[in-house]
Amino acid sequence: MPPLISTSASASATPPQVAARKARTGYLLLLPGMGWLAVFFAIPFVTLIITSLQVPTGASGVYAPGFDIANYGEAISQYGNLYVRSFIYAGLATLFALIIAYPLAYFIAFRGGQWKGLLLVLVIAPTFASFLLRTYAWRTILADEGPVTGFFNALGVLPEGRILSTSIAVIAGLTYNFLPFMILPLFAALDKLDPRLIEASNDLYASPVTTFRKVVWPLSLPGVVAGTLLTFIPASGDYINAQLLGSITTRMIGSAIQVNFIQFRDYPIASALSVILMFIILIIVSIYIRRSGTEDLV
């Protein structure tokens, strides 16, 4: 073999250095964005907790650092029922959204063919129009004198004789607003499903209903869970629907937080309310992560 002129004794590729360089670039890429999230998403929670423990100084809107846990007690005693109501509304809205979204998502995934892109655009398109206005539009659609209310009244299913200003309108509004958030993850999961699995199921004597129960539904579960999370959680904090379509009896926790922050300027109470809501949600998310890990989240 001819003499080799090599410059180093060991393998001159120095893989460990290459790997280190790569890791460093990775961290550098992460830093600005994650830094932003850390400073403006994560840290604010700390300040929120700090604020919730502050004590009044007498001056309006001015508070001193403290450790007044009584704020939490007060928050819960005053507004505790709003949490319950918010989660019930959000839960029902999520359920209805799932029922309405699933057929559409299924249709796009399995029957969409070359129109999939267009159909998805149509699903997202409504979000291009101001959601405040769309919610407000339901006031027109569900107006007391309108055809919709008239129809349901004729069926005799309205306990209060109207839809607006009742929980029905609020839940309907929530369902409507968050429908795209349910459709898209469902579609993503169903789209991944190999249609030949359905064929195999039929080949093995399963009826369409059984095929759905035993094959399609279980395989679509990741999408169902994702959609549920992305619908239920934001819905529980929403108060726009409640305010525009409901009444005092349908108030949700979000408006209590808003009112205490903006109008009453009672920052400790407001922060306590917000902290409690966030913690309930963190518990829900951690249950999800415990079962499914974090890789599918993002």
Partner: protein, 379 residues
Amino acid sequence: MAESRKVEDLHLQNLTKRFGDFIAVDDLTLTIPAGSFFALLGPSGCGKTTTLRMVAGLEDPSEGLISIGDRDVTGLRAFKRPVNTVFQSYALFPHLDIFENVAFGLRRRGIKNVTPTVEAMLDLVELTPMARRKPKQLSGGQQQRVAVARALINEPDVLLLDEPLGALDLKLRRQMQIELKRIQMEVGTTFVHVTHDQEEAMTMADTVAVMNEGRIEQMGDPADIYELPTTVFVARFLGQSNLFAGQRAGAGADSVKVSAHGHEFSIPNSRNNAPGANVIVGVRPEKMTIVDAGDPIPDGHDRIAGRTVDVSYTGVSTQYLVQTSWGEEITVFEQNTVVGDRSRVGDSVEVHWAPDHAFGLDGSGLAPAAVESESVSVS
């Protein structure tokens, strides 16, 4: 194409690649002669693709050196190496047309006027009318030619091909095999071709190296290594072999006698690679002849008696499975040159061959049953 470019040998020295505990390439030392068409042949997972990627610079070796002529390229990043790759999936840039795909390497090297060179190369691979099309608009065979053109145009010292013909159907594959061979001879670049298809390797390559579990089992001229395999793996992977595990039992004039299953077989000394007493006698199926029991057998031929258990007519040949008295199934290929009168299932037959066709493998450390069944793995 440049005339009489000085092409140099490719040297791999103690090349090793580990992925955690798994050793993909195990202390590989190899010289690929300049201007040759070299095939790295082996089953999936044998390390051939990993070796290729290390030569390309897409994978860093855990240990070892890679050099072209006198130049050590081990430390060079992929984009600095005078080596180009034809990828298994072709990896044509979908957002660029054919012209720009082929010109890509030239442009990255700062060459200004690429048009004449690109046009000449497209002409060489007969794709001139496709120059402005996108890869998706081309057939598999055409895409493959673009991939070759894109790599060759840079006049690399070594062209690496990673199972490039795998996605093509049979007829197209044969055509491309001839094409690639023609291009290689015309251009004179060293081609290193990785494949699991032994027919392909033997058809195209000047030298074939059979790899298994990160090591080279045997290397050489295709005919040489086919006719005289030196390990059980090569005997089984390259074509088919009938193997009989036995014991050395004496010597003849230029041959060694092996006793197996109550038979005595003869292997020429030049074809015996068993150093000790454990000798595996190997005979390729096409070297065997099948006759009805009792029919005359040429002098000096070795023979085994048995019963035909399967007959498969494949057009060109007929494949027989003959079961021996000790339960092993021997495979025999016979070209269909005799009309009518094939052996039938259930017939008592004798299988015979000239001892010059037998080869001897080292049987020490191997369980006879494992060797004689179809399992290739060597424990």
